[in-house]
Symmetry: C2
Subunit: 333 residues, 2 copies
Amino acid sequence: VPRNPSGPAVTVHDVARRAGVSQPTVSLVLGGHPTARVAPATRERVRKAAEELGYRPNVVARGLQQRRSFALGVIVPDLGNPFSIDVISGAERVAAQEGHAVLLCDARERTAADHLDALQSRWIDGVIVEPAASGNTLPLSHNVVLINEPSADSPAVLADMEGAGRLAARHLLRLGHTAIGFVGPASDLFRYRDMERAFVRTLKEAGVDLRSDWLRRAAPSAQAGERATRALLELRERPTALLCANDLIAIGALKACAAKGVSVPSDLSIIGCDDIELARLVQPELTTIAVPARELGARAARILIRGQYTKHTRVQPLPVHLVERGTAGAPRS
Amino acid sequence: VPRNPSGPAVTVHDVARRAGVSQPTVSLVLGGHPTARVAPATRERVRKAAEELGYRPNVVARGLQQRRSFALGVIVPDLGNPFSIDVISGAERVAAQEGHAVLLCDARERTAADHLDALQSRWIDGVIVEPAASGNTLPLSHNVVLINEPSADSPAVLADMEGAGRLAARHLLRLGHTAIGFVGPASDLFRYRDMERAFVRTLKEAGVDLRSDWLRRAAPSAQAGERATRALLELRERPTALLCANDLIAIGALKACAAKGVSVPSDLSIIGCDDIELARLVQPELTTIAVPARELGARAARILIRGQYTKHTRVQPLPVHLVERGTAGAPRS
DNA sequence: TTGTAAGCGTTATCAT
DNA sequence: ATGATAACGCTTACAA
């Protein structure tokens, strides 16, 4: 196989010359249009010439002409969260299949808006944004898909976060808990807000009120989760069960319990959310609500690449499900 | 601030027209060359026109002209390994600072060679490769930097993996262990091979031989680590301490211990390697050798962007260090 | 069926 | 100091 490592690039002109045809003809043959009417003989000659020379179409040039870049941007709030990695991974998989690249942007150091700006000047085909906060802080543009956050301006790919809250509540109730707490961010993001609301509502419907001092705020990280849970455990009266807004928080809660000598699940049941891989790596393994992160990323990528969406495209919320493992059990009687 | 969201792109021509100068003049003023001799008055007029129109230079067009893309590729063997994420994160940080994008490639589904091929057709400025296996399976090209793997063909950014093996051995010896095992991949990668060698050698120098049935092979994942450790624990005679080739394996080992009722560190001491964030999230927290993953990624990116390297560029191996936490202690006497 | 010509937005090389 | 002009590699009319 003739390759062309770092040598002078082989262009359509070279192929044309070798095949003894004009340059646009080469373009017609090799370009996406299999419908183009060009004589089979010519077609074959061009194919062969390209093969022999090891011709690789230049994506930059093609992009300039077509005013696109065959690339997707992905902006995530925190590369340290495995949930984001899963979203990215799903998007990358689809993108690679479709011949698109994925430009990765971490919103820890630069703002999402800055990243979006930089991406637009590359004529990016589309951007997948996992927002860090609600409110349209993004310069609106037509080619953004939001992950887990509905918006009037952009299409969104959602998971059933209400269902997640409900599932968690029902599971704890079924186990016999009535002293139930919650640890999560004070965020207006759909992903957190609706989950919390559904959780609280479902409990209330069963006659269980969430005590306000058992509702603790923590950023979606293990460290914050640990701190918040520690504070919770210092209360005179403790809950017997806890829902954490995501798995990182839950793992932090697990650490807090270990530090305080609270045994899980017998003293305190803990449920997380997301089902990141990490959930199976801690002891005991984390009971959690699985959110199809990779699938979210994959769908977002498909929407952008296929390019058929409107502002109001809404993917049917993806189902979530309870994964029973080792951190949730019946309360000690 | 006048933005131009998805409207027709503002080009240098528009700016030129508005400023009443020729188009190349605009390029001179706005382009990277601050040395260009252009009258201060003109310069100001151009600046203002660009500002008013909300001009954003088009990276694709610039790329076509300069035969580069202002982007870096990063190819990792497994997005699921937090070590790789750290490498990526370090590279992304530097790249963003320098106005470069990062194209992310996961080598689980497509081969690294395929990804490299696709990247080259984008005139990628450089590619950071964390190899999955040794041996030059990569089509050699001049703009690749390898992570933790020396090569005759490409520059490399290394951590002191020999030091990692030595540090681990010394620590276990100092704690009083003589029955010592090892779990790691049968890989010819520098990153694993040299670490293992240094570990074995250091033990031998202290008169401690690694029993061959205490040397277990496992892919660098938690699951593989768990299986391998399980097998190890089923032996009649067990070691009192274990070095795992990376943290994922070590966490798998931790799980195996939990499953077998082996208490860590009193029955078995475990040391990991990498110091991924996860190491502080398990119980007990993992004693490990810290490898500066983010710094490796950052340096690789700097080498590629600054572009001053030869085939034989070798960054002085970055130091590693022991992080004492909860999984390594003195053997039970 | 195929070749000619124009253009994508930018930078670079010249004259002027 | 500035303005024509060409070029980067490709696609897409349109003409032959």
